[in-house]
């Protein structure tokens, strides 16, 4: 899954789009910067499924929280389009915005009562579930959703999204060692839950 050839402006299994796609995205971004909401909607339609899948996993499968995060991400993206310089894929920029927004929101969440992570909404992730691997994927989504938050973030960002240890450490403001420890914990818990 994770490749060691990930570069800083792309995301592991989601490499940068080709030059034509990148140019087209940049053109849409430039139009959106001028206030063209229709151009921004095209960007949303194109990228929201990927970002929503990430939001769902970051939020432990909670559909309501994930939708709220998705909306926050795109509202922030609209407001910060000027900061997108075009030297990375737009979707990579959105990914980072999603993770940062989730972390910012988490700080305020800490002031609230901890919630039990719901499991049923993980069905959303398998929305395209038609193949014979559906059940296996559902188990996996449910197992990921049930991980402790730190372990879940590390696993989703590293093993699902392909971020590097160093990138995750920077985004979460922790050491690389902590990221590795959380990853080890996540994988151990997943193995216990899925293979016992």
């Amino acid at each position: 899954m994770k490749t060691s050839a990930v570069v800083s402006d792309t995301i592991g299994k989601h490499p940068s789009t080709n030059a034509d796609d990148k140019a087209a995205a940049l053109e849409r971004v430039q139009r959106a910067r001028t206030g063209d909401v229709d151009a921004f909607e095209v960007l949303y339609r194109e990228h929201s499924p990927r970002i929503y899948a990430l939001c769902l996993r970051l939020k432990g499968g909670d559909k309501s929280d994930a939708t709220e995060l998705l909306q926050d991400v795109f509202i922030k993206a609209w407001r910060r389009l000027d900061t997108f310089r075009g030297d990375s894929a737009f979707v990579s920029w959105l990914h980072r915005l999603a993770v940062n927004t989730m972390l910012e929101n988490a700080r305020s969440d800490q002031r609230r009562t901890a919630r039990v992570l719901p499991m049923e909404d993980t069905s959303r992730l398998a929305g395209a579930a038609r193949s014979s691997g559906v059940e296996s994927r559902m188990d996996m989504e449910g197992a990921i959703a049930s991980l402790p938050k730190g372990a879940r973030l590390a696993f989703v960002l590293h093993d699902v999204e392909g971020y590097q240890h160093q990138e995750i450490a920077e985004q979460l403001s922790v050491s690389v060692g902590t990221v590795k420890a959380q990853l080890h914990r996540a994988r151990r818990l997943l193995r216990e839950r899925l293979e016992s």
Binding site: K13, R50, A53, Q71, I75, R124, L125, G127, A128, E195
Partner: protein, 230 residues
């Protein structure tokens, strides 16, 4: 390397993160150790399952309309801010006076008064009262709120710029506390905005958002005044 050391390297071994020097002894050990070999296979299965997860999920249909509602409200204010930020000389020389003037306008605007912690008791029509009591914002309230929101965005932007310029004159702990407070208020604003995007006529949400705006402007104003006095 012993088994106890190597078992801690198996994650990196499986993901290819071991150095060229560390990899051969681990590889050699895994071939001869059944426990580690089983662990390696188990890790590979987990990573393979992670790789099979779908990359996309369909967001709810109404997500875009909520986003669009929120950004539509930004448009006019953003344009106003852009025109302000382009006039750099004006910004440098008269920013504080302008910010103060706008602040006065915000705090004294009908819209602000309308939503100031329920103090409003002015000449509302009986129809407006009826609608307000039902928890639904009247068109007049929403119009006043839009004016207030635009004023807020301009004022907050000007004060924030001014504060950024003067930050060095504040103690680091004060800056940290200020940023934490602003972050908290921004989070409250974002939450209220999102909720209002979903329920645009909700009077309570309008009031909550309005109160958060005032709180932020007040904090910025007090801080810039403090830096001016230092």
């Amino acid at each position: 390397m012993t088994h106890d050391v190597i078992k801690h390297l198996l994650d990196d071994y499986v993901t290819g993160d071991l150095t060229d020097e560390a990899r051969p002894p681990v590889e050699e050990h895994v071939i001869s150790c059944a426990l580690c070999a089983a662990e390696v296979e188990s890790l590979k299965r987990i990573l393979a399952r992670a790789a099979e997860l779908p990359e996309t999920a369909d967001p709810p249909e109404d997500a875009w309309s909520n986003i669009r509602s929120a950004i539509s409200r930004d448009e006019s204010a953003v344009r106003a801010n852009d025109s302000v930020s382009r006039s750099g000389i004006w910004q440098r020389r008269y920013v504080f006076a302008a910010a103060a003037a706008i602040l006065v306008a915000v705090l004294s605007s009908a819209g602000t008064a309308l939503y100031m912690n329920g103090h409003y008791s002015g000449a509302r029509s009986s129809r407006a009262v009826a609608n307000t009591s039902s928890g639904e914002a009247t068109p007049a309230m929403l119009a006043a709120f839009t004016i207030e929101e635009n004023n807020y965005l301009r004022t907050a932007s000007l004060l924030q710029d001014l504060l950024d310029q003067q930050e060095a004159s504040l103690a680091p702990e004060t800056v940290a506390q200020l940023k934490a407070s602003l972050r908290t208020i921004d989070e409250a604003i974002l939450e209220a905005r999102n909720a209002l995007a979903r329920d645009p006529a909700n009077k309570l949400l309008v009031e909550m958002l309005s109160a958060s705006y005032r709180q932020k402007v007040d904090l910025l104003r007090r801080t810039t005044e403090m830096t001016r006095g230092t």
